[in-house]
Amino acid sequence: MKHLLSLFGVLLTALTLQAQTVDEIITDYYNAIGGANWDKVSSITMKANVEQGGMKIPVEVVRMRDGRTYTQITVMGNTMTMQAFDGTTSWTTNFMSMEAEKSTSDETENAKRSAGDFPDALLQYKQLGYTPTLMGTETVDGTSCYKIKLEKKTQLVEGKETANIEYLFIDQENKVPLMMEAEIMEGEMKGKIGQTKFSDYQEVEGVYLPFSNVSGIKGEGTQTIQFESIVINATIDETKFNFPKK
């Protein structure tokens, strides 16, 4: 009987699932990752040790609510900024000269436009003026997900205003995103689909974050980053965002 009742439960759930609107899915997602606790979050500091052929490379990623961000890695004791945005300038480090260099104007402009996507563009879509559309359900590696198309503000690609679209795949059962897809808009990979898969959601001060991100090109190789710690509202050296004065 217990079996039967749980089965009945499953059937009911199946019926409810069908009726979900995109807003309900987003609300479920919001609640699943901590809901209003996110209001208290002003920054996220994530640390990982990436193993590259047995070599440990510490990685530190900081995201601020105001859109500033940096990713630092430490290779053989040398810490360098892989990518940063200080609110005005998006920049990287040249691995040959080890000097900071500005990213393209497009990249800086696009960083400015997505500065409000904290903690996640989908949750703030109304304030940001983005448009989510429920496209149906799709299976991600055996798990049934809602597929949501999120049309953000346009982005600059080779200087031209271009649609900026992400696809989010939200686990029907657990209500959290399992995958994000977006077309690669520039370079040799243009036209291919970039994918990031999320797992290892864990609680940090009342909010849930995916501690594991696997990214790559659809159908091709992937790179995993497994965060060992994520700290909310940590003390941050704000100079690290800034493009160094030469």
């Binding site: 059937l11 040398n78 159908g219």
Partner: protein
């Protein structure tokens, strides 16, 4: 109320019983099991249609005959596949002129109706540039020749439905939608044998349309093009009414008609007509919108094989320049009066487009890929990254890496490696046959001898690859015997028992025990020998087409039992299945024992089982009789009874089955729409779609020792599933456990190094299989919440390496590159890499931590038994590695201490303000010492500083670690010298420590501004 509960319970109970009876559904558990494509692309494959963006000709779409839709955004340099999840047989692609960046339409089902053509399943539309597609209906259209979109109204679309090739069909003609594809109406139809083969719209007046109708039919043994119903029609009212165009056009029977409008003057039309009379076949021109026509030209290039080449293209700005698809492709610059061939490229041209923005730029679709020309077709260059090869068959050998062998539609016979340094690239493939290639086999014990064939066994070759010696070895009819009938794709196979044996099937089974030099017939005619199906010289209709493609009443499949060479299962294209158990002395016709199988259905494949002499599988393909039903059977009693193992999950016809060699319930099925897998002997099937497009699979092969499933696809080359062993291990009980490891082999440590490949930037390179140790496990559901990490440890549990773990539902794989942890290197300017050493052979554990649970699996690593290194070599290498590893870390610790004291000294100096002799001297000496230990200036490129001790130690360390043999004397001498330098530096530092550092330390003890540094122990430093 009680009634309600009772009925609810009944429904639930029914549901529950059903759930219990349903066995494992493979598709739920494929997890990260992913297919790998090796192409090749050097000969690419047939392309049916090309389309350019109207305002940005950098955007190119191609519809491949069997390989889906590809998009380029750089004018044709690089292409990306955008239609993998849908039918890969493409008739046409169209770009909506109102929304050309986003809205495309695809009509599935190729319309160049050769014998090997695949079928379509309707019309598709994307509104986001190809990221997402929706099927917009016309499910029975079978093949779509053209899609015309009103340039003023995206919702109004006209579609030319050619319809079924192999039988009658009511879904033919011109279809129109006025609501963007939601609903369709048939606005012009003729009858159930005549379809719309071309449709064009006047670009200036969208209500004006021209539609070509074609009466045609193909069967397994004949082809007919032409009839009284073929005609050219015109509508001037958006398809409501149509008028037949006849003035100046040939009377009587007509065949296929090509028609095109000059974009620069829509009154000028060209039509190429397959007519009844030879002198009326050819090119016609109208200058008055089709009201009257003038015959211009009946050259070979215009009239050749209309069923295969019926596309004519008019230049965007010059109405007198026209290009005609054909055997070589041709172009006229005088309005069609005369033509010349296009430049050298692969023959069999299907479509030609001109770039509006650069009128001398052309793109040409051929049987051998896409070509670009920048000079109006005089010279052309092939696009090298379209892996569209159309294999008919694949076989494999036992080398390491193993090679794959196969023949391609109009693209010869080949073999190539399953992996190669840097990936499988064009230069890796070797040519071993001409013409259309089909079945290619290596000699079972000498893979340098390769057998191949061309169409209709016009030749069967034995090729010595090493000596480059070629001998034709086909069997001939003996004096007084009937003519031998060979299928277009003639059956040829080697023996699992007699290495020098070859089998070839005509209507008889021929056997050779000396590699094809002498042949013996071991059977009577095993076919139905129906004379009505042997009239190929009359095939073709209005244009004779006796290419051998319609040869019939032939043996198609020969399966020798892997358990006895006396047992042969023979399948014929006219529906017979014959068995001998005595090497051909007696034969039994089993064709009446298949329940539900229509008579004379083509036996496409027989699989003699490794699990028992009496077990076999049979696959029948009825599509050449317009029957798309899948037919797959199994016998366990030498064919007396056969049981269908088809389920509704298989949605179209099937060509091949492969049984698993270990798990009898595991089956792989090659279907017209991709690969299916069953875990329970065919009780249910799942489409395998992880990087496996919905492409026609013509043949499957399973590697007996590498456990790889190799698929010959007819449009996407060779696709490989590298390791099927996890599929063998999926059982019901795994569903109840949180994580279960699958059994693993002993892993062999790879000892090869490579400089990589040589492919240029835009050439296709097939993926290599992973060279890592792969440890697979099963998760009953996806891991989403909580931490999940992986490690390799030694047997005592000490960390050897960290590894990434998969978290998917079903099969997951941990990959480990056999590496331990890398040494910690000294901090200095720039990078100087000291790589991780490889582990020694031995036993290790994989440890997966999932939340609070820990799962462990023992694994074993061994050295390559074929390696040239001895045990003593390895010990020497390992000892030297260990010593250098220690030196790298000793140096790192030394530099750390120097840096710490230097930092404090610099801080003290800064705070103190006035010079301090001890501190200044200390700084000077620390700096001097550091300068000989690590690079402290320069960059990572040509501004690099002179190497110091760190760079030198790391260099020799990297050299020793990367080679598996003993270090050379000169390497050992180098290590010794560097070790002495390191010891000397340590001594220098120890002198400082006992002197100036001690003094500085006592200064700091008294200082309030700067604290004494807390120098970590070496152990703690290395852990940091």
């Amino acid at each position: 109320m009680r009634f309600f509960w009772l009925s609810a319970l009944t429904i639930m109970w029914a549901h529950f019983s059903w759930a219990q009876n349903t066995s494992l559904n493979a598709g739920d558990f494929f997890g990260d099991l992913k297919a790998r494509h090796i192409g090749p692309a050097l000969m690419s494959g047939r392309i049916a249609d090309v389309e350019l963006h109207p305002n940005n000709s950098n955007v190119v779409l191609i519809g491949a005959a069997g390989g889906g839709v590809w998009k380029s955004q750089d004018g044709g340099i690089r292409f990306t596949s955008i239609f993998d999840q849908y039918c890969q047989s493409i008739g046409c692609v169209s770009i909506d002129p109102n929304d050309p960046d986003n809205t495309y339409w695809v009509g599935t089902g190729e319309t160049w109706t050769r014998n090997s053509v695949s079928a379509g399943d309707g019309i598709y539309k994307t509104t986001d540039g190809g990221k997402n597609w929706t099927n917009m209906g016309l499910p029975k259209s079978d093949r779509i020749a053209s899609i015309q979109i009103n340039p003023k109204n995206s919702n109004e679309v006209f579609v030319a439905v050619l319809g079924a090739l192999w039988g009658p069909s009511d879904e033919r003609g011109v279809y129109k939608t006025s609501d963007g594809g939601k609903t369709w109406s048939n606005v012009l139809s003729v009858n159930n044998t005549t379809g719309c083969s071309e449709l064009v719209m006047d670009p200036t007046q969208p209500n004006v349309l021209y539609a070509a109708f074609w009466e045609f039919r193909r069967s397994a043994y004949s082809f007919n093009s032409g009839g009284l119903n073929s005609a050219l029609y015109k509508s001037t009212d958006g398809g409501n009414t149509w008028k037949k165009l006849e003035n100046g056009l040939p009377k009587g029977k007509k065949g296929r008609i090509a028609v095109a409008i000059a974009p620069s003057n829509a009154q000028i039309l060209y039509a190429v007509i397959e007519a009844e009379k030879k002198e009326e076949k050819g090119l016609y021109r109208s200058d008055d919108g089709g009201n009257s026509w003038t015959f211009l030209n009946g050259d070979f290039a215009l009239t050749v094989r209309p069923f295969y080449f019926s596309r004519i293209t008019v230049h965007p700005s010059d109405p007198n320049i026209i290009a005609k698809a054909g055997l070589f492709g041709s172009i006229s610059r005088d309005g069609g009066k005369t033509f010349e061939n296009l430049g050298s490229m692969h023959s069999d041209i299907h479509d030609i487009v001109f770039d509006k923005a650069q009128p001398n730029k052309m793109l040409v679709a051929t049987d051998g890929g896409l070509y670009l020309s920048l000079n109006g077709g005089s010279s052309l260059e092939i696009v090298e990254n379209l892996p569209l090869s159309q294999f008919y068959h694949v076989s494999i050998d036992n080398r390491n890496p193993y090679y794959v062998f196969g023949g391609l539609q109009d693209n010869n016979s080949w073999f190539g490696p399953s992996s190669s340094p840097g990936g499988v690239e064009a230069r890796d493939w070797e040519l071993v046959g001409q013409g259309d290639g089909f079945r290619v086999y290596p000699h079972p014990t000498n893979p340098k001898i390769v057998y191949s064939e061309m169409q209709g066994a016009e030749a069967i070759w034995r090729f010595d690859v090493e000596k480059q010696q070629l001998k034709t070895v086909k069997p001939y009819a003996l004096e007084g015997e009937p003519k031998l009938r060979f299928n277009w794709n003639a059956s040829l196979t080697t023996s699992k028992h007699q290495p020098d044996r070859l089998y070839v099937g005509s209507q008889y089974v021929h056997i050779s025990n000396d590699r094809g030099d002498t042949w013996t017939k071991i059977s009577p005619d095993l076919t139905t020998n129906d004379p009505n199906k042997q009239q190929q010289e009359g095939s073709g209709g209005l244009s004779a087409d006796n290419s051998g493609a319609e040869n019939h009443c032939t043996i198609f499949s020969i399966a020798e039992s892997p358990l006895s060479d006396q047992i042969l299962w023979i399948g014929t294209d006219d529906g017979n299945v014959q068995l001998t158990k005595d090497g051909g002395k007696t034969w039994e016709n089993l064709s009446h024992n298949f329940p539900g199988l229509p008579a004379n259905t083509w036996c496409y494949h027989l699989e003699a089982s490794v699990h028992g002499k009496e077990i076999a599988y049979a696959v029948f393909d009825g599509h050449a009789k317009n029957d798309y039903t899948p037919y797959v059977y199994k016998t366990s009693d030498f064919g007396k009874t056969w049981k269908s193992i088809v389920t509704p999950e298989i949605t179209t016809f099937v060509r091949n089955i492969q049984e698993d060699f270990v798990n009898q319930d595991l089956l792989y099925l090659g279907a017209e729409n991709g690969l299916y897998i069953s875990l329970n002997g065919g009780k249910n099937w799942s489409a395998f779609t992880n990087n496996f497009p919905k492409v026609a699979v013509h043949y499957l092969e399973l590697h007996p020792t590498k456990h790889a499933l190799i698929a010959a696809t007819h449009g996407r080359g060779i696709i490989i599933l590298d390791d099927v062993r996890p599929l063998r291990g999926i059982k019901e009980e795994l569903l109840t456990k949180n994580l279960s490891f699958f059994d693993t082999d002993v892993f062999t440590l790879p000892e090869k190094s490579t400089f990589g490949g040589t492919a240029s930037e835009n050439q296709f390179v097939g993926d290599n299989p992973s060279g890592n140790a792969k440890i697979s496990y099963f998760l009953p559901k996806r891991h989403t919440f909580g931490k999940m990490t992986g490690e390799i440890t030694d047997l005592e549990g000490k960390l050897v390496s960290k590894v990434e773990v998969g978290k998917n539902k079903g099969i997951n794989t941990v990959e480990w590159g056999f590496n331990a942890l890398a040494p910690k290197t000294a901090k200095g300017k720039g990078f100087s890499i000291a790589p991780a050493p490889y582990v020694k052979a031995g036993k290790y554990k994989v440890k997966i931590t999932k939340g609070n649970e820990v799962f462990e699996q023992m694994i074993e690593v061994r050295y390559d038994s074929t390696s040239s290194f001895t045990a003593t070599d390895r010990i020497k290498q390992q000892e030297c590695t260990k010593e250098l590893f220690g030196m790298v870390e000793d140096l790192a610790y030394l530099v750390y201490q120097i840096d710490e004291w230097d930092a404090k000294a610099q801080a003290f100096k800064a705070k103190n303000g006035k010079p301090n002799k001890t501190v200044d001297a200390l700084i000077k000496e620390l700096t001097a010492l550091r300068n000989i230990l690590v690079v402290t200036t320069g960059d990572n490129y040509v501004g690099a500083a002179e190497d110091q001790l760190r760079e030198k130690i790391n260099e020799i360390y990297g050299t020793i670690v990367g080679y598996f043999g003993a270090p050379s004397e000169s390497e050992l001498a180098n290590v010794k010298g560097l070790k002495n330098q390191l010891i000397s530096a340590q001594k220098t530092f120890n002198v400082l420590k006992d002197g100036k550092i001690k003094e500085f330390s006592s200064i700091l003890t008294k200082s309030t501004s700067v604290a004494v540094p807390e120098i970590l122990s070496k152990e703690a430093f290395l852990q940091k």
